[in-house]
Structures are given as structure tokens and as C-alpha cells.
Amino acid sequence: MIEFRDVHKWFGELHVLKGINLKVDPAEVLVVCGPSGSGKSTLIRCINRLEPIQKGALIVDTMKVHESKTNMTRLRAEIGFVFQQFNLYPHMTALQNVTLAPMKVRKTAKKEAEDQGRYVLEKVGLGDKLHQYPAQLSGGQQQRVAIARGLCMRPKIMLFDEPTSALDPEMINEVLEVMRNLAREGMTMIVVTHEMGFAREVAHRVAFMDFGELMEIAPPREFFAHPKSERTKLFLSKILTH
């Protein structure tokens, strides 16, 4: 589904991805963790070319993201992206937020888009908030609208960039619950997060990134019980005891 082959990325002089090799299968849930600045956000932002890569090959759903002639608009419609800061459109209601792209990109009829929008918002537990503006919703509710916005495009892949980091602690679980259900339904997901409980329970594999390299990648049981590299051990000891 997603394949990185020796992918390199520079921001000016800064080498942020140093030869990433990674394969994600359909219906797999991969959790990526690592200290801030390790390149994990950049890693998933490359997948829909929010960040272009400079070297290597990146193939998503048989499309070559590394080639500049690839039609990214078509590919992006197949990939849902959830941001740390939600990034909802503040001048639109929840329902308008989730129906805009289906109507404009997929050319779905308004009625059909709204029916689907209602259904998906209901599924993330916001059936009673259809006509609220983002400013009228709590952080957890906003993030669930953002997930619904991605789902309304019926994507093949969902990418999450620290979806719970900007939330108050009591709201984290409602968002994780939606993501758990999504994983159960067989969505291909890459989740950048520090929620190790979620990783243990939901992920098929957990990856650890540091200094722009994938240091370690393993099923959660193995990853948490027997981390191989010293840096993974150190990182886990820091975030699991706090």
C-alpha cells in the first residue's frame, strides 16, 4: 500500500529523513513514535506530498509520489490526513466541513454528500453537532470532525499527525476511540503519536524514529518488551514513566 525506498528529505541544509525504508500493508495500523524533531511528522507528510522528497522512491497505492508528474490531486483524495491542530475551516459548520471536498473533488451531489456527512458525523458521535461551527466545539469534538472530514472522502489510507497532542487529557480518549473503531474496520493507518496505550492495543507494528532514521520497527509486544536499540530503550523509559 505504501512503500518507502531509501527516501531522503532535506530542509535546506538540514537532513531530516536519512534513507527511510518502510512498507505498510493494506489494513495495517502502524504507530510511529520518537522524540520531537526526529522526522516522524515529515515522514507522513511526504506520503501525500505536503513535503516533496529529494531522493529515493515513494510509492503509494501504485502511484509514484516521488515523480513530479504524478497527479497528486487524485492521490490526495484517497488519503485522509488528520492534523495536530485539527485545521477545520472556521467559517463552515461541521457538516459543511465534511461535505466540501466530496462535493468539489469527488463531484458528489450535495444531497448525497450531506447524507453521507450526517452518517459519518453520527459515527464519530457528533450527530447532534452537524450545524455547529468549529469555535462552538471542544477540542476533542473538533478533532472528531476532522477525522470525519477525512473519512467522507472514502479514503484508502488515513494518516494521523499527533492527533491527540493538542487536546486536554479528558478529551483524548474520545478521539482514540474513533481511531480504534477505524482500525477495527480494517483501515490502513499510520499514526504518529505518543499514546503508547493505543500503540499496544491497536497497532500491528510500532516504529521508533530518531535523527531522521527508522531505528526500530516491530509488533507492539516485542517492541515494548524487548526494544533492541539503546535509544529506543531510553525513549521508552522516559515516556512510559512520566
Binding site: 490526495r76 472556521p90 467559517h91 466540501l100 471536498a101 468539489k104 473533488v105
Partner: protein, 236 residues
């Protein structure tokens, strides 16, 4: 004249009221009305011009082409750092001496346009830059192209955010148009001056001018209020 609106007048000295000549004001109302219309159209022309100049200058200022951005920057800075009166006198006395001749009203509109345009440019720039880059990324991620992003995400919000300060600038522009009386344009302030010099009634004359400005101010303020109410959803 013992009662006004059914309440006895106790605060105002009756001597002042007796000397205040309402009859002359009525006599001069036709003049004030035509000058009021002149102020309206000079301001409207200046407003329209400054919106165009301001949007253009803003577009240049944030463009990638360094030279264009620099030119727009010089224009905006030099207008904002000098008095409108000096700019007006330069266009009125200075340009003809360099060989450019224009009518008084064209000079007046040019001065208002270029002056207000510099402020408009900064307002529009603030509006566009107030839209978080994250929203644009979200729109890109869901496959919306550049025109769709402009049409559905950026412009509706930029217009919404800039409307109240733009109307504020419009109020400033109307008041600044009073300076056009100095280049002998028959507008509201000039009407007050005419009444003063013909009848020597400066209190009546300038108070009447002020009342007409007040009418324009309240119309624009009403619009500002209305535009702000439409923005309530933006407040977090």
C-alpha cells in the same frame, strides 16, 4: 423655545439659543445638500479607487518578485509617513508645475485614493495572512486545487476578516475628504466656510457640516456593526 422634546431646557443657556440662527441654516440647506452629495461621491470614488490600489499594492507586496514587492513597500511607507495635506498640496500645486494638469475633483480623488490605498493595502494583507496555513494544508490534503481553495477557504474568510477594518478606513477617508475644501472643491466643509464668510455664522455653518458628516459616519458604522455580527463564528 422653552421646551425641547417635551423636556424643559435647563442646561442650555437661553442666550445662546437666541443667538443661534436656525433660519439661516434652512436658507443654506440647498447648498449643504449639494455639498453633502459632493462629499459622498468624492469619498465613494476615493474608496473604490483605494480598494483597487490597496488590493493591487497588497498583491505586489506579498509577491515573490522582489522588485515589485519593493516598489509596493516604498509606496506604502512613503504615504503612511507623510501628512495627507502635504500629499494633496503636492498633487494640486506640485504636479501642474511639473506639467501634469488635472481638474480639482480629479486631484482630490487621486489624493484620497493614493493616501487611503496605502492603508487599505496593509488591511488586506493582514486579512489574507490571518488565515492559518494549516487550513490551506488541510484543503490541499483533501485534494482541493488552488482555485477551489481560494474560492471556498481563503477569500470568504479574508473578506470577512477585512470588512470591519476596511469600513473603519472608509470612515477615516470620509473625514479626510474635508481637506479637499482647501483646493476649493465644493464639499461639506467648504459649505460651512461659505456660510461663515457670507453671513459670518461660523457656529451654524460648521455645526451643520458636522451634522452631515455624522450622518455618513452612522451609516458606515451601521455597516461595520452588521459585518462584525456576521463574524461571530470566528470568535473562539
Amino acid at each position: 423655545m422653552g421646551r425641547l422634546n417635551g423636556r424643559p431646557i435647563v442646561y442650555m443657556s437661553s442666550a445662546m439659543l437666541e443667538t443661534f440662527n436656525f433660519r439661516v441654516i434652512f436658507e443654506y440647506l440647498p447648498l449643504f445638500w449639494s455639498c453633502f452629495l459632493a462629499t459622498l461621491w468624492l469619498s465613494a470614488a476615493g474608496l473604490l479607487g483605494s480598494l483597487l490600489v490597496g488590493t493591487l499594492a497588497c498583491g505586489l507586496r506579498i509577491s515573490r518578485f522582489k522588485l515589485l514587492a519593493w516598489i509596493a513597500g516604498v509606496y506604502i511607507e512613503s504615504i503612511r509617513s507623510t501628512p495627507l495635506l502635504v500629499q494633496l498640496f503636492f498633487f494640486y500645486f506640485g504636479l501642474p508645475s511639473l506639467g501634469f494638469r488635472m481638474s480639482e475633483s480629479a486631484t482630490g480623488i487621486l489624493a484620497l485614493t493614493l493616501n487611503s490605498g496605502a492603508y487599505m493595502a496593509e488591511i488586506v494583507r493582514a486579512g489574507i495572512q490571518s488565515i492559518s496555513h494549516g487550513q490551506v494544508e488541510a484543503a490541499v490534503s483533501s485534494g482541493l486545487n488552488y482555485l477551489q481553495r481560494m474560492r471556498h477557504i481563503i477569500l470568504p474568510q479574508a473578506i470577512g476578516v477585512t470588512l470591519p477594518p476596511l469600513l473603519g478606513q472608509a470612515i477615516v477617508l470620509v473625514k479626510d475628504s474635508a481637506l479637499l475644501s482647501l483646493i476649493s472643491l465644493s464639499e461639506l466643509t467648504r459649505a460651512g466656510q461659505i456660510m461663515t464668510s457670507e453671513r459670518f455664522m461660523p457656529a451654524e455653518g460648521f455645526l451643520t457640516s458636522a451634522l452631515f458628516y455624522l450622518i455618513i459616519y452612522y451609516i458606515l458604522k451601521g455597516l461595520t456593526h452588521w459585518s462584525q455580527k456576521r463574524l461571530i463564528y470566528m470568535q473562539t
